[in-house]
């Protein structure tokens, strides 16, 4: 069966607003908290002693920080 997609793959640079929304979505998806709350906790050192692989989703969220910082 030939499955031809009707869509091309777009490539686009996000606006700062889009990036903040994507980051917020990732923190909610992975950690169940919103983006600003994660950043506040990060800045307060809450994750300083947490191995990235001990908390499910933390490594993905930390990698996504370059969207907003």
């Amino acid at each position: 069966m030939i499955n031809r997609t009707a869509y091309d793959v777009e490539v686009g640079e996000m606006s700062e607003q889009d990036a903040a929304e994507v980051f917020d979505g990732i923190t909610r998806r992975e950690l169940g908290i919103d983006g600003p709350e994660f950043l506040d906790r990060w800045d307060a050192g809450e994750y300083q002693s947490t191995d990235r692989d001990d908390l499910d989703g933390l490594s993905e969220v930390v990698a996504a920080m370059s969207l907003v910082r």
Binding site: G25, S49, D51, R52, S59, A63
Partner: protein
């Protein structure tokens, strides 16, 4: 593939990623972080379809992101003598099933606090376990999606595998790892 300017290098880097995602039957958008243009030494990232990931129908959602940076290339090692190329700094690829559970996760996050800094794979039933791998490309992850049941836009799975090989070929020539 190297480029003459940072922007050229990023375009050369993104082009094969786009081709790989096109093999999957679904709506794909590679969203790149905003940093006011591309420069050497700045960490950028792309995210496939934002936080939602790519909807692959019954196979689930393909969730993928990568951090990358523009670095110096050896002009003697590419036919155009271009001075810049892009290198990945971390990646996270996973297939989340329709029931919300992860079917597999491919991770590489060499920086930061982690006892596992090499590329690795998490598989159920124990997703906490780290299985060491070589560096995995987005093409590899797209191939895993296909093997996990995602529909493809090529005539057959075999044809898709051939396309992956063609897409990866230039990258294999220029990357610094094996």
């Amino acid at each position: 593939m190297p480029g003459r300017t940072p922007c050229d290098a990023v375009e050369e880097f993104i082009a094969p990623l786009r081709e790989a995602v096109r093999i999957l039957d679904g709506v794909g958008r590679l969203m790149v972080s905003p940093k006011g243009g591309y420069r050497k030494g700045v960490r950028y990232s792309w995210v496939l379809n934002g936080a939602d990931g790519m909807d692959l129908g019954a196979a689930g959602w393909f969730i993928a992101s990568m951090e990358f940076e523009v670095i110096d290339a050896d002009p003697a090692k590419n036919e155009y003598g271009h001075p810049l190329r892009v290198t990945a700094r971390s990646y996270h690829y996973k297939l989340r099933g329709r029931d919300g559970t992860d079917q597999w996760r491919m991770h590489w996050h060499p920086a930061g606090r982690s006892r596992v800094t090499g590329p690795h794979l998490h598989l159920p039933p124990d997703l906490k376990q780290h299985r060491p791998t070589g560096r995995m490309t987005l093409e590899n992850a797209v191939g895993w999606c296909m093997e996990s049941g995602a529909a493809v836009t090529t005539e057959s799975a075999e044809k898709a595998r051939q396309e992956f090989a063609l897409i990866e070929a230039p990258h294999r020539l220029h990357r610094s790892w094996t």
